[in-house]
Structures are given as C-alpha cells and as structure tokens.
Amino acid sequence: MRNSREVASDPLLVEIFGGMRAAEAARTPCGVRALLSALGAAACLWFAVSAWNGSESLPKTLSAAVPGVALAVFALVQAVRYAKQDDLAQAAFRRFAARTVEAALEEGRYEPSGGVAEEEYLESGLYPRSDEYRSNGLVCGKEGRTAFRFARIKAENVEIERDAKGNRKERRTTVFSGVWFAADFNKHFHSHTRVVPDTAERVFGKGLGRWLQKAGSGGKLVETESPEFEKMFAVYSDSQQDARYVLSPSLMERLEALGKRFRGLRAAFFGGKVVLALPGRGKYLEKTSAGSAEELAASLLESIAPYAGLVGDLDLNTRIWTKE
C-alpha cells in the first residue's frame, strides 16, 4: 500500500479535497439551521392555532393562517436545501475516499454502498443466519498476485417482545459486527475448513472441551499438532488431510499472531479463497476535520491499513505452488 504522502501528491486528489471543503463551507451553519427549524415549528403551530380559532369564518381563518403557511413553506424549502448541501459534501467526501483507495492500492476500488454478499457470509459457515444483515464500505485491491477485498458487516438478530400493556419492544443481539476480509488463497484445495475461537477447550479444559467440540456440528474436528494454536482455535473441516495442507505450520503461526491482534478472529477456507471475520467497531474510512488532503488521506489509510496488510500478514503472495 502506498503511503499518504505519495497518495496526496495526486493533483486530482488535491482538487477533490478543495471541492469537498468548498462544499462543506457552503453548508448553512448549524446555528442558523436550528433557528430556522424553530421558526418553522413556530409557524406550523401558528397555522394550527389560527385554523382552530377562526373556525367560525373561512376567509378570516385563511387570512390569519397565511403568514404561518408562508413560514412553514419557507422552512420546508430550507430543509430541502440543507439536505442537498449535505449530500454534496458527503458525495465529495466519498469521491475523495474512493480516489485515495484507488491511488493507495494496486487495482484499488472503493464502493461505499457495495458490500459482501450474504451468500458468502453464510457459505463460510462461520456464523449462523441472522434476522438482519447489512454490509457496506467495500474496498477491493490487489497485492502482487493476490486479489483481495474487504467490507463492513453487521448481522443482528431481532426479537420483538410485548410488555403487559401491549407495548412493542425490540431487542437486538449482534451476531457479527466488524470487517470481513476475503482473498484468493495461494494453494489449490477442495475442502471447506473453518477456524473458530476455541471457547469449549478454554472453558472446560482439554478433555471435556475436545469431547464437546467433537460433538459439535459442521465438519469433523481437526486436531492440530500446535498446542498454542489449539489453545486459541478449534478447526473443523470436511477433509482432515486437506485441512492440514491449507493450515501449514507457518500459516497457523500467522493466524495465532492475527488472533492476538483481532480478538474473536474467525477464518474459513473454501472455494479457493480465504475469508477472515474480524470483529470490531473501529474507525473505517470516516471523515475527519483534517486540514489538508495529505492529513485526511493519512487518516483514511490508517483506518484500512490493518485489513489491506492482511495479504502480507498471511503471506498469501508466496506462489511457489501450481496456483499462480
């Protein structure tokens, strides 16, 4: 990934930054917006009261309500104007972020409304189906020979409860919230292998923990020869041999290191690719009040660097096998 100084040397990026700041400056200040909103509300109230009091004569009612209607229309027009101003500033920021990603990553692309298909999320077998699934902030790129992409995902279960008075209450449980990373894997394989946090062994110890893991569903438990890896993860696969081909000793060490950086890390290997579920609610391509294009680019790149660097962290670019 190129650094922010190199990225900010792009004249187009500097131009977009200028346009973004101009769009922001053109926005009506918050104080004025609040004042106008209050005026709009007062006008609506005036209209309602006038209509109520003047109910005995229609012309009198209308003449009393005219100033209220006029103010209400004015407030509505202003609200539409603010929304347009916000849209322009937001669109300018999205252009800036997209250009930053394009300039920083090889074959880089940023799609704010793009995301990970729910089919891939479910096919990984890392999490069960949830009631609500949202994904956005798709970033695609390539490092050497390895194509990768990542995006934010939020998957939640929603329970509707009703209290004694019949009031509806919504309870949300997060299934997964974080960044989903997918990359082309550097070896040919045909199995489906999952690496998940080893909660059973941690809670119940090696004997009972393993027994519970074996009783669990979703592929056969693969017992690896690394005690450190076993403490951290449980591996399930539909092929014992293929799982060990995919999870070489060096990859297991790398996953261990990643597991220390991203608590709750899960990984799946299927369909020729590796996917990583990285739970967390950290900053992700968010706007800051940076004073220059370089500063803003630096803050954006800093927020995606942990994910863009995963190809190197997992050594996926080593292509000494038949998959080129």
Binding site: H188, V222, Q240, Q241, R244, S248, P249, L251, I320, W321
Partner: protein, 186 residues
C-alpha cells in the same frame, strides 16, 4: 435371590455394552489411521510420477548428472513393484535425488529459464506440501489410536482383541533441519 440375579445381569449387560463401545471406538480409530496411511502412500506415488517428466525435461542438457537421472528411473521402477515399507524408503531416496537435480538446474541457464522445469518445480513443491499434510494427518490419527490403546481401562479391551500400538512417522534428521523441504514448502 432374584434381586441378586437381576443386579448381576444388569452389571454384566453394562460391562458388555462398555466393551462393545470401546471395541467400536478402537476399530474406528484404527480405520482412521489406516486411511491416513493410505493417504501418505497416494501422495508418495505422486512423487514417483514426477520422475519420468523430470528426467525427460532435463536429460538433454544435464550431461554430468546422467548417473543421477538413471538412478531416479531405477527408483521409480523398483517402487512400482515394492511393498509399502520399501516404497517409503525409495520415496525418500527419490526426494533426495530430485532435490539434487533441481539444485543442479541452477548451473544450466536454459533449464533455469524453462517454463516446463519451473512448472515441475512448483508441482513438486505442491506434492511435497501434500505429503507433509498427509503425514501430519497420519501422526494425528496414530496419536488418537495409541491414546485409546494405551489408556486404562480401554487398554484392557485393546489387549483382549489384539490392538497393538502403532509407530508415528518421524522426519529424519536431515529433513527436520530443512523445514522448507527443499522445494519451498510453507
């Protein structure tokens, strides 16, 4: 009297059930180990299958290594008719000889640049990694089987039905010293 008989029958049935379950568990683990052993054998055969292609790709240029290439061809012929134990030993000899051939390729610029030789090198690296994976699976399966054979009280059933402890695959000293398997395995 009836109560004593009933208790005796109950205990005997429980012991019988436990023996049945322990026996089935041992059989299942032994089958896993056999399956893993055949997986290793399949991968070793793949290594032998590289020999004709490798010899054909390099023999035109490698005048000094003619003896080595002839020996490789002999190893393959011997392996085709050998038993599993002898085949494993021949596989190790083939591996050493192939590593020497690939090391010698460095001295022949036309071979070093050959797409065919490069592809063979990659394919062999992949097979070596598959062999390593198959052996790791074999060792895991044998560990699980040996644990069942040697742990009390399962060891009583194992001894009664002739389940013997099995040996793991052990990498030789030279192989351990070279974790990348000479072909770049990771």
């Amino acid at each position: 009297m009836t109560t004593v008989l009933g208790w005796t029958a109950g205990v005997a049935a429980a012991i019988g059930l436990w023996v049945l379950l322990a026996y089935n568990s041992l059989v299942s683990r032994r089958n896993d180990a056999d399956n893993a052993a055949s997986g290793v054998d399949v991968q070793l055969k793949k290594r032998f299958d590289f020999i004709p292609n490798l010899v054909a790709a390099v023999k035109g240029c490698m005048a000094h290594e003619r003896f080595l290439l002839e020996r490789l061809a002999e190893i393959r012929s011997e392996a085709l008719s050998a038993g599993a134990g002898k085949r494993a030993a021949l596989a190790e000899e083939a591996r050493g000889a192939m590593e020497t051939v690939f090391a010698a390729v460095e001295n022949y610029p036309e071979l070093k640049a050959s797409a065919n030789v490069m592809h063979l090198q990659r394919a062999l690296a992949e097979t070596e990694e598959q062999i390593a994976a198959a052996r790791r699976f074999f060792n895991a399966a044998v560990t699980s089987y040996n644990d069942a054979v040697q742990s009390f009280p399962g060891s009583l059933v194992a001894r009664a039905f002739g389940f013997a402890r099995r040996d793991w695959f052990a990498a030789d000293a030279e192989e351990r010293a070279r974790p990348d398997a000479g072909f770049g395995g990771r």
